[in-house]
Point group: none
Chain length 200, copies 4
Amino acid sequence: MQNGEQSETHTEIMEATYRALCEHGYASLTMQKISDEFEKSKGLLHYHFDSKEELLTAFIDYLLSEFEQDIASIEGPPDEKLNEFIKRFVVVSHTDDRQALHLALLELRAQSPFNDRFREHLARSDTIVRDVVAGIVADGITQGVFRADAEPEAVAQLVLASMDGARTRGLTIGDETYPATVSDALYEYVISDILVETNE
Amino acid sequence: MQNGEQSETHTEIMEATYRALCEHGYASLTMQKISDEFEKSKGLLHYHFDSKEELLTAFIDYLLSEFEQDIASIEGPPDEKLNEFIKRFVVVSHTDDRQALHLALLELRAQSPFNDRFREHLARSDTIVRDVVAGIVADGITQGVFRADAEPEAVAQLVLASMDGARTRGLTIGDETYPATVSDALYEYVISDILVETNE
Amino acid sequence: MQNGEQSETHTEIMEATYRALCEHGYASLTMQKISDEFEKSKGLLHYHFDSKEELLTAFIDYLLSEFEQDIASIEGPPDEKLNEFIKRFVVVSHTDDRQALHLALLELRAQSPFNDRFREHLARSDTIVRDVVAGIVADGITQGVFRADAEPEAVAQLVLASMDGARTRGLTIGDETYPATVSDALYEYVISDILVETNE
Amino acid sequence: MQNGEQSETHTEIMEATYRALCEHGYASLTMQKISDEFEKSKGLLHYHFDSKEELLTAFIDYLLSEFEQDIASIEGPPDEKLNEFIKRFVVVSHTDDRQALHLALLELRAQSPFNDRFREHLARSDTIVRDVVAGIVADGITQGVFRADAEPEAVAQLVLASMDGARTRGLTIGDETYPATVSDALYEYVISDILVETNE
DNA sequence: CATGAATGAGAGTTCATTCAT
DNA sequence: TATGAATGAACTCTCATTCAT
């Protein structure tokens, strides 16, 4: 998404970083552990990236790009898009690969107060995603599926925050039912309220 | 809370760890940096704790105990308690010390999938807090301030998840208005729905 | 001088080495830094020279050859040749390119106790230069401009040593006036003594 | 001389550095090689010195302090002091330990154009030594052993430069007779000229 | 000839931990 | 208790060199 044409080795490094991050976590992620997940040599990591931080910044872009592509691929009428968005965002099974992706992102996010570049890259992506959700709600209002008094920005932030929190709590506390429970509550207490009541 | 009578040195170490964690972040937290925030020597840290992990596990208990005490001190009728809870939990000013505390907790939480002991201690606390919120809602139903069809568990999880998510996003993206916006949306789209309409 | 007909690439490598050495110093001179000053690729350096040491040995010859050519081009009667020799050897302005050349030579010389090949190449050149100066003095005696009791070898060594020392101290301590001061003292206390007093 | 009371370990590190520098030369001097000459562990080097550069800067002070002490210990009338100074400074036998010291200093000096801190420390010492020599000459004039028209500063610089150059050439070209030859020439062509002729 | 990706050893440095005092 | 010197493993990063193209 951002470069369009990265070298094969570049991609292999990103994938190795992903595996290493998922397995060991950010705090104990080392170039050696990335290298262990990488077919080629450790020195090559430094040939392609000037420093560990540079590699990880590139990795954030790689992760976000995958995530943004996933989100952009959602199709359908606004209410279905919102449902699908929530499903992809939060209802992850334990074996879902997306769970690992979100954990990786969470770790990088927890690090961002101490790293300006991380924060900038993450903030940029956050704005994009928020705009996507607010856009869905706005479209829904225009098309008459959501109530006219729904505030797209507020709804978007509430949806994102609750899903993010649910995922975080689910991931970090090890309770797999957390995201699903919150997701259900989100429907019952929020989304059902802004739906124009046609058949319900 | 867990020992009742900790030594003064123990407390000083916990406070030093807190300062070091806030300043440097979990990933680059070292015994040396804790020691730098500590009046006494670095060797003494190992006299009191067998290992860094042991120290950090004790630190989690210390943090959670402070947090739980804070929450337990809330008084008043259920709807006011819920408001106050949300306020303390999420609406933190930028200079609020509680912001740093939550960031520290987030970092430890992001680490918990890689550390069983961290996860156990955090999960225990999470259950306590969730029970507190669910209890407030249940009390509110009993006392007739919340609607009878409100589900205490579901509401508690939704409230906690959205506030947690809002705080995380606010902290890590550097947008101070995030928690307040989500908090407002939470009132408007969730809490106002479960309040028994008396004067509104 | 040693091959007579070096390839153009060879010369470009020598010039790149010269620039890199002047900029970074011997101790932190790397093949990469030489390559950075070189139009073509880094791999090509190894195509032309089997190793870094080989390249640097060739570079010594290149430097000395330039230096010897410079000295050989001095013309005139013996006393003027000696003056000119000293002037070229030591009285370098701060911006003089010769200053960098002498610094490069000094660095290689400081390395020579640890590298037999460096030492051999440098010693050979040193003998040549010493013979040139002793020859000038001997010619001066024959032609009656220098006193008959002047010892060509001793004078040559004293002149060379003092100029070398002055340059070293000037270069490394950053005092630009050093060489000129010593040069003046050399005239006043040494050369004026061996001149046949005709018009002075 | 500079601190008066350095720890024993500090001194051991300086001595280990001296041995490593003499054996391998500055350009290939590594912390590992210093550690190899050191009884204790490599990590300890970094406990006592924040970086390699800091260690080497301290080492320059250590070397210069030894050298300055040596010079300060010379006693006697001015002409004898000057003789003794030259003897200690330059006439080193091949096995003389002072030869190694001067080579070490030369290497550090050759590095000083690329390292401000090295240059400052070396320049400070250079000024001290020059003042000592100029002081000897000035005393000699006052006491009537040197001619009144001798210029202390100019003589000091000429003496130092020629001896420095002789030593450099001797050390780096491997010709042991160099310093002695230049030293003799220095007497014959310079010092004999400034001596008040009493018995010669 | 020429390139630049790739390698593996080793550079300086950091770190949790130990231990004598 | 308390200190701070000391350790050794592991860290990020650099380097001369090789090799497929």
